[in-house]
Symmetry: C2
Subunit: 191 residues, 2 copies
Amino acid sequence: MGRWMPDAAGRLSRAALELYEERGFEDTTVAEIAERAGLTKRTFFRHFPDKREVLFPLSARIHQAIVDAIAAAPADLPPLAVVMEGYDAAVDMVNKGHAQARRRRAVIVANPELQERQLTKFAATSAVVAEALCERGVAPRTAFLTAAAGAAAWRAARECWVDGAESQDLHALLRECVADLKAEVAALPTP
Amino acid sequence: MGRWMPDAAGRLSRAALELYEERGFEDTTVAEIAERAGLTKRTFFRHFPDKREVLFPLSARIHQAIVDAIAAAPADLPPLAVVMEGYDAAVDMVNKGHAQARRRRAVIVANPELQERQLTKFAATSAVVAEALCERGVAPRTAFLTAAAGAAAWRAARECWVDGAESQDLHALLRECVADLKAEVAALPTP
């Protein structure tokens, strides 16, 4: 059953979200998620290592899109501009799923384990970004700081986007947040 | 036994670190940590909710020191300068424990569960900082971005400090990282 079903990961992720909303994350099993998706437990574990991960189905593809965009950025671009090219590439993958992102956030904020996993995802994205900068010749500490600054803008923009109407443009929000960050950092007196 | 023993939390934390180094985090029980510290399991759970938390014994006091410093900062200081006053207050609590910080990091990097807990600690610190900024009248999104920028500088400085010689000054490293962050953000072209 379901072995050749297309988009197994997407079906599992949607089924999991439904069940977490209905019964709560704690009271949902992998077997139930697989059943709801019309798939087997074995198929579940081919796609996700556990029932937390199934709420972040795009993360590997998002990481890849960011790394590809950073590698493709012009050589003379300053590091933070390179990072923002990376997150801009991620925007296009996230932009479509507003309703799902909203529902997913409601499930995540209700569960500390899921919040921890989300923080781990954000940290993994930042680590990927910092590593991609190092490969462009940026010093490790600068790469860490630049990746963290970009991640801050990304997270702030994403949060506003999830909060707001579906019609909002995540690209525009990201630019706003970067401008906001720039103003705050510039306002800091030089010691 | 040990009911009136002074510094129970510190003894438990040191005993846990020793055992995690000797046997690994996974293979150490709360009962063993309590025994090594000459205390009971009940005393352990009076101080820490689980065996991950025992590696972060100062976090509540660090949060308090940061919040107090932020509340005490002059009203006309720009938000990021306020955040750095907060982290400067934390430096004095961390500065003494170089050898322990180094051993603790080695245990944490070897275990994904501990890494998750550490990320949660960093996120909690940032949330506390953002909230303290909001109480000073900073808008929530700006507070989040400013707290994240300060946290980035703090984490980068702390990492350099743990990597380096004990004689290094964490205050100076923090100033260096802030300057580095400032330069990177300023280099970003305005759209």
